[in-house]
Symmetry: C2
Subunit: 307 residues, 2 copies
Amino acid sequence: MRMPQVVRQPGLPQRVTIYEVGPRDGLQNESTILPVGVKAEFVSRLVDAGLQAIEVTSFVRPSWVPQLADAEELIKAVDLGAVPRMPVLVPNRRGLERALEAGVREIAIFGSATETFAKRNLNSSLDDQFDMFEPVVAEALGAGLRVRAYLSMSFGDPWEGDVPVEQVVSVGRRLLRLGCSELSLGDTIGVGTPGQVAAVIGGFLGSGVDVGELAVHFHDTFGQALSNALTALRLGVTTFDASAGGLGGCPYAESATGNLATEDLVWQLSGLGIETGVDLESLVATTIWMSDKLGKRPESRVATVLS
Amino acid sequence: MRMPQVVRQPGLPQRVTIYEVGPRDGLQNESTILPVGVKAEFVSRLVDAGLQAIEVTSFVRPSWVPQLADAEELIKAVDLGAVPRMPVLVPNRRGLERALEAGVREIAIFGSATETFAKRNLNSSLDDQFDMFEPVVAEALGAGLRVRAYLSMSFGDPWEGDVPVEQVVSVGRRLLRLGCSELSLGDTIGVGTPGQVAAVIGGFLGSGVDVGELAVHFHDTFGQALSNALTALRLGVTTFDASAGGLGGCPYAESATGNLATEDLVWQLSGLGIETGVDLESLVATTIWMSDKLGKRPESRVATVLS
């Protein structure tokens, strides 16, 4: 299979972690509900493709996200120790209990950078979301789990429009202070551009946050995801959320396209000589296999051209 | 219509030129052959959307590219003085004669950076292509025309694989020395990544070429076009080829996707506060209108989400 020519650039990280969100953020936003066996095979194929961090599912209330209603069953069917990180999303205390029972070793919580999204997604205020997160994070840490925090709407909100950088930094730092070891800055509706990415990341670094605590989560709604990832890479970010085949739309916007596609990101990183551990051919085969299961064409450019 | 938040970055150009290739490079690679009136309206809509440089058609032999067989008729139907630049592609002396008769004020010639593509596309060798270009450029300049040169396969060749930077720079400089005022570096098969873009542009700048003489022409085959454009922008490039709706595939590769979509580029540049003169809403309306004429969905993310 064709691979990009490797031409390195000075000042970039030698190695980055791709945090694969296809099984959770991807499938959660697809209309097709897949059998648990297909999901387990998806995770297993992603492991075989070399992904080092894979978010497997969500312990959300099954009636809210029927696509992921089989979380317990799926966790039993996958090897949680196959790769260094295999977290699950946990929306609340009940979700954490289920996660602990299932034996997961890392959870992710899902915060909001804006009042409107906190209200709509969490039925909370921007401030009150912390009352919900605090006991969950404390208990998870007490049980020896690692905790990642998402900060959605970090680059724009569908109802509020622009989101002040100071607000994003303030809410994000509060999540880190709870004890989260990683903060994933989400452009949930995909509107951000490189200057904004630099401003938000710069805001965190300027307030004393270490770049190793930050991850970026870009959606390709307006075609900007890979450009924004490149901008974050130049600023030293080493954790990039992506979804095989660009799976998943954004349920909160008029979007037709989903997450940054893992294989398009891998093409760029491979061309820059940056290690990810991912085998592109195996990943593309996985994307094509999954697209077939969902009865749709892959969104990613790389899988489209190589399929 | 939603517009990106403006966050500038230091060191970027204040204003750039988008060189719209939809009517030529786009339509040439679409299977549908449109009536001349639709093409004229396409150009007129692009003018109204604020594009400052529009490549209208090609004076290639009609039997080679039936999509553009109506070049003379189209030129008569458009206002060549409506925007600062309205060039046509000219493959050879016969093409130049037709262009001069038609009254165009700028032509573009189409060179190859590799032996194999020179042989396949021009039936020439890498060296001998200059025998063909030299009299065309000399005569065009003598008639007061401006001449742009494309350099295709500057970032990879479907048959040869990697293309040495020195070879790209050497062939490109020969084109400039003929008297061409602009050299458009083409990633014809869309395989390039940011390190390579920096290396190729750096090669030209290091050999004394002024950055104002360079344009970049990226295809989105592997999803890298906008990232590569951002990389060129950071190096000071101020002319970007793009195609409304991402029209056009690559006839020389297994590609399913086309040029960098003008509206995805405009979104990024607008977010960076860089002027283009383009009205995004009007451009998106044009893309949707044209997609309808071609009976297909737009390739661009921006037009997809806003349509």
